[in-house]
Amino acid sequence: MSESVENAEPRSDAEPLSGLQPGQRGKVTAIEVPGAMRGRVMEMGFTIGTVIEVVRFAPMGDPMEFKVRGAHISLRKAEAAGIRVQRI
């Protein structure tokens, strides 16, 4: 369950988390959420190197639900787009 925190540089093959479909997983390479919420997003477990799984989209298509460090967290697509992941 423990994700090793590697010093992963944002790579060219990284894509926005919002582009993943339910069931797909990605490893965080960068967090580009603007302003004051950046720190809170990281504290909720979206840190570099963490593996995130997309669980589902809400009934109206937005927001999204993610599984992060064993917890279920919801973010809107627009916000999830600021989290870059490498698909695994």
Binding site: S2, P59, H72, S74, R76
Partner: protein, 694 residues
């Protein structure tokens, strides 16, 4: 009351939301709880007393559930300031109980990492170990105790398991400060040490404060540094140095803590079998409750069930209360000589208070359902489903919870807006929260629906009531959208919402909160409503006409209240109201439910019959001068719509004043809501007339 014993130890209880923190707090303190406020802020301060294993007097302080000590909204600052010992009147706690969800240590240990930085003894209450076991997790308790350097108590708080052990751990003669903590990168450690030296003289752990300040976002930093420009300059310089050495000052401490958490978990939590793809019980429920079709059906179904129960289940107890009240009025009437005193006691006090207390069963049922939704974890799903709609008007899934709570009462709803970080979004939510139909409107709706459709079945009655709630919801959305585009412009805020695992609600906890609400309601009925009822009785009875053989109707018309009703009649006539309803509107400016007791008093004084007729019958028989009934279906609807939209609650005005720290917003709120109510009622009444309804 026993004399206050010497307090042996002050303990704070803290943890992420949904960890069972309140269950442990309630189990330890029982009914020895006290709710107050922190000075200067509106955060609720809940304390309780209990006795340790050897009878030591302990004080337990319930800190609001939070994910982090890092401050991003004003009320989050309270937890941190208490733990740093900076809040006047609240001594720094001697120990912290950190409540963790055993099935999700990967995330919950993060807060423990921050607690350990505080240099306060920590005791870990590892709650819900049964759930963790069911999910195939084995936790090495001794290993965890050693890695954290603090006592670890396995618990199942909902069944009372582990409470004795927790008390024993809290009663030890000395509690150690752990020497374990997350290792920071050397560059960061150096900056933290330098900043700590600058903060010497501050209360609490300066190292922890330095870490929190260094990784604070710029917009909050200015507020936190409180104009200390030397400190501010130093923090900015330190951050520049960190950036130069390739460290992100906001990310670095978070990464360091999570790295430590991962390390602790790797050595102490063992998973049997590979279940990362297996679905938990919660996941299965969510496949239905957040489904594109079933999710909506379940949402609407649950709301409908709630309103039907409010009618069906509450009927019998309401009849009992009504019968008891009539019996008391009759007995008192028979034992007091006729005159002003009897009129005051019977028409003023008993009728006034009784007509409001009658609604206690419905209010309790509402709170029961809200408690059930909150504790089971469904409330977060409702926010998840509704966020798309909320974001259309520029609000947030998080605004949904304050708005839903406002169905019970706007006051807790408005207080719940403190979780919204952005000021403008918070104010928009505050401005529209009273449009959600609160429990004080229930009495008005109930009596009006009874008049509107006396013979109909409960389903149509519940249907009409649901419509009233919907009108409020729609008005709230439209107004929120309008405010977001005009006076309180800001971007749609970010959503960051945890969907906690579903849990069987702890029945005792819900009942305890219902009881607290009932006490508040009864106290209100016994104070505010009682005072207003007496005042109203006086307004409706004096001055008396000079001619001795005046009819009751003339006495009422001659009274101050009657004159006020007559004075506003031209304004409210287009809404279908007469001057007596006008008295009700004026009287209920302070509290909506007073409308019902006012109507009761008006018709009681007027009829002056020996036995108290049922208010509904009296209102049904009320006639205008031309002999047509006053309460036509259209008038009833118009009154209901008026009450949906009008801001008639002094307590709400007071809380908005306190939360926005200005008179401007509550006054604006009264103005816009009254205008909205008048327009709404006008459209219903005149529109209905044009369409041929009466």
């Amino acid at each position: 009351m026993a004399e206050a014993p010497q307090i042996f130890r002050r303990i704070a209880i803290a943890g992420n939301p949904n960890t069972g923190k309140s269950t442990i707090f309630n189990a330890l303190t029982g009914l020895r709880q006290k709710v107050g406020n922190y000075p200067g802020v509106t955060v609720e301060k809940k304390t309780g007393r209990f006795f340790g294993s050897h009878g030591e007097a302990m004080e337990l302080l319930d800190l609001p559930g939070s994910y982090s000590l890092q401050v991003r909204s004003p009320d989050e600052a309270v937890s941190r300031d208490v733990l740093l010992g900076r809040v006047p009147g609240t001594p720094r706690p001697d120990a912290i109980i950190a409540v963790l969800d055993a099935s999700n240590l990967d995330r919950h240990l993060y807060l423990v990492a921050q607690f350990l930085e505080l240099d306060i003894p920590v005791i870990v209450a590892l709650n819900m170990v049964d759930v963790a076991e069911k999910r195939g997790l084995t936790i090495d308790l001794l290993g965890l105790k050693n890695s954290l350097g603090v006592p670890v108590i396995p618990m199942v708080a909902s069944r009372g398991q582990g409470l004795i052990e927790l008390k024993q751990a809290l009663s030890r003669a000395t509690l150690q400060v752990s020497d374990q903590r997350a290792q920071l990168p050397i560059v960061l450690e150096r900056e933290v040490a330098a900043l700590s030296r600058m903060l010497k003289g501050h209360a609490g752990s300066v190292r922890s404060e330095a870490m929190l300040l260094l990784s604070l976002e710029d917009d909050r930093l200015a507020a936190e540094a409180k104009g200390d420009s030397t400190l501010l300059t130093e923090i900015h310089a330190a951050r520049e140095r960190l950036k130069l050495s390739g460290l992100d000052p906001i990310a670095a401490p978070v990464d360091a803590r999570y790295a430590w958490v991962s390390e602790v978990c790797a050595s102490t939590v063992h998973r049997q079998g590979e279940d990362s793809h297996g679905l938990t019980f919660s996941d299965h429920i969510d496949q239905i409750l957040t489904h594109k079709l079933w999710g909506w059906l379940a949402f609407v179904g649950m709301m409908a069930l709630m309103f039907v129960c409010i009618f069906v289940v509450a009927q019998a107890p309401m009849d009992w209360i009504r019968a008891a009240m009539q019996a008391v009025a009759k007995w008192t009437g028979a034992h007091l000589p006729p005159g002003d005193l009897r009129s005051l006691v019977v028409d003023g006090v008993i009728v006034g208070v009784g007509n409001v207390v009658v609604f206690l069963p419905q209010i309790l049922i509402l709170f029961f359902f809200l408690g059930l939704l909150e504790d089971s974890g469904y409330m977060a799903r409702a926010a998840f489903i509704m966020d798309r709609l909320m974001s259309r008007v520029g609000l947030h899934g998080k605004s949904f919870v304050p708005l839903l709570s406002s169905f019970a009462c706007a006051i807790p709803g408005i207080m719940a807006t403190r979780t919204i970080e952005n000021r403008n979004d918070r104010f928009v939510t505050i401005l529209v929260a009273p449009l959600m139909s609160c429990s004080a409107r229930l009495p008005v709706y109930a009596i009006m629906i009874a008049l509107l459709m006396p013979a109909s079945n409960v389903w149509s009655k519940a249907g009409v009531m649901l419509c009233m709630y919907l009108i409020g919801v729609i008005a709230a959305f439209v107004m929120a959208g309008l405010f977001k585009k005009t006076i309180l412009r800001s971007e749609t805020p970010m959503l960051l919402l945890e969907l906690p695992p579903y849990r069987a609600p702890v029945f005792r906890g819900i009942v305890q909160r219902m009881w607290e609400r009932a006490v508040v309601f009864i106290r209100r009925a016994g104070t505010v409503i009682l005072a207003l009822s007496v005042l109203l009785w006086a307004l409706l009875s004096f001055p008396k006409p000079t001619e001795p053989d005046a009819t009751q109707s003339e006495i009422l018309s001659h009274s101050i209240g009657g004159r006020m009703g007559h004075a506003i009649e031209p304004v409210i006539a287009p809404l279908g109201y007469d001057w007596k309803i006008g008295i009700g509107l004026v009287a209920s400016f302070a509290a909506r439910e007073v409308f019902v007791s006012t109507m009761g008093q008006i018709y009681n004084i007027e009829d002056a019959k020996e036995d108290n007729e049922d208010l509904r019958t009296q209102m049904r028989d009320e006639r205008r001068a031309d002999g047509t009934p006053v309460f036509t279906p259209l008038t009833c609807l118009s009154i209901m719509v008026f009450y949906v939209l009008a801001m008639q609650c002094l307590s709400t005005v007071a809380i908005v004043r306190r939360e926005t720290n200005s008179w401007r917003w509550p006054l604006f709120q009264i103005a816009y809501m009254t205008a909205l109510a008048w327009i709404g009622a006008f459209v219903v009444y005149q529109g209905g007339h044009l369409l041929g309804f009466r």
